[in-house]
Symmetry: C2
Subunit: 213 residues, 2 copies
Amino acid sequence: MTLTIWTYDWVPPPPRGHVRDIRLRWACEEVGLPYSIATVRFEDRTSPDHLARQPFAQVPALQDGEVTLFESGACLLHLADKSETLMPRDPVGKAQTLEWVISGLNSIEMVSVPWWVIGLSNPPENPLEGWLASRLSRLETVLSQRDHLAADRFTVADLLMADILRVKKLRAALDPYPALQAYTDRITARPAFLKAHQDQMDHFAAADAARAK
Amino acid sequence: MTLTIWTYDWVPPPPRGHVRDIRLRWACEEVGLPYSIATVRFEDRTSPDHLARQPFAQVPALQDGEVTLFESGACLLHLADKSETLMPRDPVGKAQTLEWVISGLNSIEMVSVPWWVIGLSNPPENPLEGWLASRLSRLETVLSQRDHLAADRFTVADLLMADILRVKKLRAALDPYPALQAYTDRITARPAFLKAHQDQMDHFAAADAARAK
């Protein structure tokens, strides 16, 4: 059964390379799972058809036979169930992977994404600055002591956390956290990430060309 | 194997009834899984022992034989693997439960928790107000059309989402969302929630008594 990853047909340049279908592309590339790309027109993201697929009018969504899922974190856990490459099968390694996937979503991104969103309007002071620093500092301690979050090897938890930390403004704010810098750079140097990133850039560049016709 | 839920020995009154061990207590009560409570002194939450258990100095954590987990969302998914009561076993129902658990953590709480945190300092304007409204509005549409998030019946996704929405300041802001109000009230009327809530209140009240000695 071929997997289908849903994303936008086109987005403006700033988010390119960061649209969250990249997390699913990357996971598939790590495992060697074949997949195809399906698209919703960026302008149609609040259409009933797309809201049926993604109730918050976002991407990605994943189709896997009769199963469809939205939320990149949910899609990653679904893909991780398919391959030990993404998540160990032993109970301890699996639990570690799960807790760090959820940490990425609910302890780091719950602060870093709103921090980033608030930063877009250039306020004199970002009210989430201190909270973000405390979370990153705790994560720095963890990643000063080991190379990977879970199970002493690369898992989908690293894929997600590195994708969270590499967001431009956040990556640029990592100076006080050398372990997080090294970790982000190391995980995003993986060939599967580079392939997924290039494929997403190419996808949106092709859309520019098609729209220019 | 008995489950052990880790929480604080004591917290000041405001968060009582909302400390996140309640999510795990509630899940265990739904299933009838026996569990015991273990505690870390509130003042020792940044101790090396507790950071080894929860690297962000929070609660809860869950011990299940050789497996230990932190992050309430991860603990809920771990518990859901034990019982169909919390998560259907068919692939479609399981995927729906998973996507809505992750939505609670990464689409709703990623906005509602920072909105709440920023609100603590009573700013003239909360920069996350509009974003929160757009997320709640999308969720209102979904829950105007059905009683449960996933699989046409109660799942751990409802447990989590109702626990997110019942936070006092958020519940008080739900006037524009009658379906969310009704949903939150209906899900938190479940006997398993009421038992978990009372047990948490009693736990902290007992700690007051012990500390007063």
